[in-house]
Amino acid sequence: MRHTGLRSIEHENRLYDRLRELSRQLKIPLIEPFLRVSKIDRDGNRELVIDRHCRSYTRNMYNAYFYQLNLLLLGSTYADGSNRCKHINGTSLDTRNFAYNNNVEDGNFGYISEAGELTHGIVIGTGTTAESFDDYVIETIIAHGVGGGQMEYADMVAAQNEGWVGGGPYYFHEMERVMSNNSGGSITVNESVLYWIGLNSNYVFCVLRDKFGAGVAVADGESIAVNYELRQTYP
């Protein structure tokens, strides 16, 4: 069970307020993750059903964060004492594969994917197992399509938003994906992930996996929008 030290959302928000303040004062990079989930009815009306900080950074993200400071490697597994990352197929890989050095927003790399592409970006599932620090893949993926149990994944390139907020100050990257249910039946979405595809485009790393507190039932003809925001605090 993760986040046993948190008593309430208010407690969590107070801690983030303090962390932000200290981050700016001490000059320690802080990347806050946010999750927002909306249901979209047949008329396009949105209902925000989840709006909170993510509580689900994986070992991949922790390893990538620390690795960037020193680029040192140790071990061969995705476990304590080794700082490798884990590809969604279960292979432990050199953390340098996480990085990239070109366009990360064009739909081919980074967190942004094109329509129907499930190898990176935002992906949803029906799995109900609680989040674990060692998660590296979605539990039960909802496939792309219009068949039974499938949903149509939209393009993420045009749906992203980023920018500088001087009043923070922080730089944010908001990534959204709409999944439409044209399967003929209702589908309950219980989990979402954010996948990163890096230096070697064969490797994909899950940095966030969120199990929803209550499943979001998406009826035939309706859609679900999952929005992840990564926000870097600046001094």
Partner: protein, 245 residues
């Protein structure tokens, strides 16, 4: 401005909160040791032999303080690599712009590293364009720093010191605290004929194998005097937040 003790206390609080919220974080320490060997090293092996013989067990000068000096270059590296934000161009380096500025004051594009330590933070041989570097400048640190105040050049002339290759970094895991520790290290020797006062220490990354960008710069609380024929060791130690279990 916080003194070292206040800074340490605040960092402890930061790390505790980050551990509760389960967000990645890291802190840094700076260590400087000065010794006077009986015979000056002429090779990397000579330095290794001196270290193995315990010359640093009782240094003439020992300085230890928190690192508190991540620069905009380092932050932008994170925004690019971990938040997935493209570089915003090379027109402006400052708020709202994701890029890097190298030591020649040239604004560069993507702040990527994506290579091994020996290609980014650890310079080969006597190369002093990246890796750990030292200087005599004492101007206070700024988030906007992109170069040293007054770097000490490599050489044996007046005001110069020999730069030895950055050592292989050391990464270790503590299962009890659930924290990673990474140590970057470099040695310098003074053959200049006079004493040199080291007042600032910086870490340069050789980003994208093309340009050296400063990611940290620390001004020492009290400068460290390195006399002729003395050996100085600089450690930059990074410690992660406790990993979730």
């Amino acid at each position: 401005m916080l003194n070292d003790l206040q800074y340490e206390k605040a960092v402890e609080e930061y790390m505790e909160i980050a551990a509760i919220l389960e967000v990645p974080a890291a802190r840094g320490f700076l260590g400087v040791d000065v010794v006077q060997p009986h015979r000056m090293p002429e090779t990397e092996q000579d330095i290794d032999n001196l270290v193995q013989a315990g010359i640093f067990d009782q240094p003439k000068i020992h300085y230890f303080a928190p690192c508190r000096s991540w620069t905009r270059n380092a932050y932008n590296l994170y925004t690019y690599t971990l938040c997935g934000v493209n570089a915003t161009g090379i027109g402006t380096f400052g708020d709202g712009h994701i890029n890097t500025k190298d030591q020649m004051d040239v604004i560069r594009g993507s702040p990527s590293t994506c290579e091994y330590v020996e290609e980014v933070y650890a310079a080969y041989g006597v190369d002093y364009t990246w890796g750990i570097r030292i200087g005599t400048g004492s101007t206070g640190e700024s988030f906007e720093d992109t170069k040293m105040d007054a770097r000490i050049p490599h050489g044996d002339g007046a005001g110069e010191m020999r730069y030895w290759a950055d050592r292989d970094g050391l990464l270790s895991w503590n299962g009890g605290t659930r924290k990673w520790t990474a140590k970057l290290q470099r040695y310098f020797t003074n053959h200049s004929g006079g004493s040199i006062s080291v007042a600032e220490i910086a870490l340069f990354g050789y980003f994208d194998k093309g340009f050296a960008c400063m990611v940290t710069r620390d001004v020492l609380g009290s400068p460290v005097a390195v006399a002729e024929h003395e050996l100085i060791r600089v450690n930059i130690t990074q410690e992660s937040v406790a990993f979730p279990s």
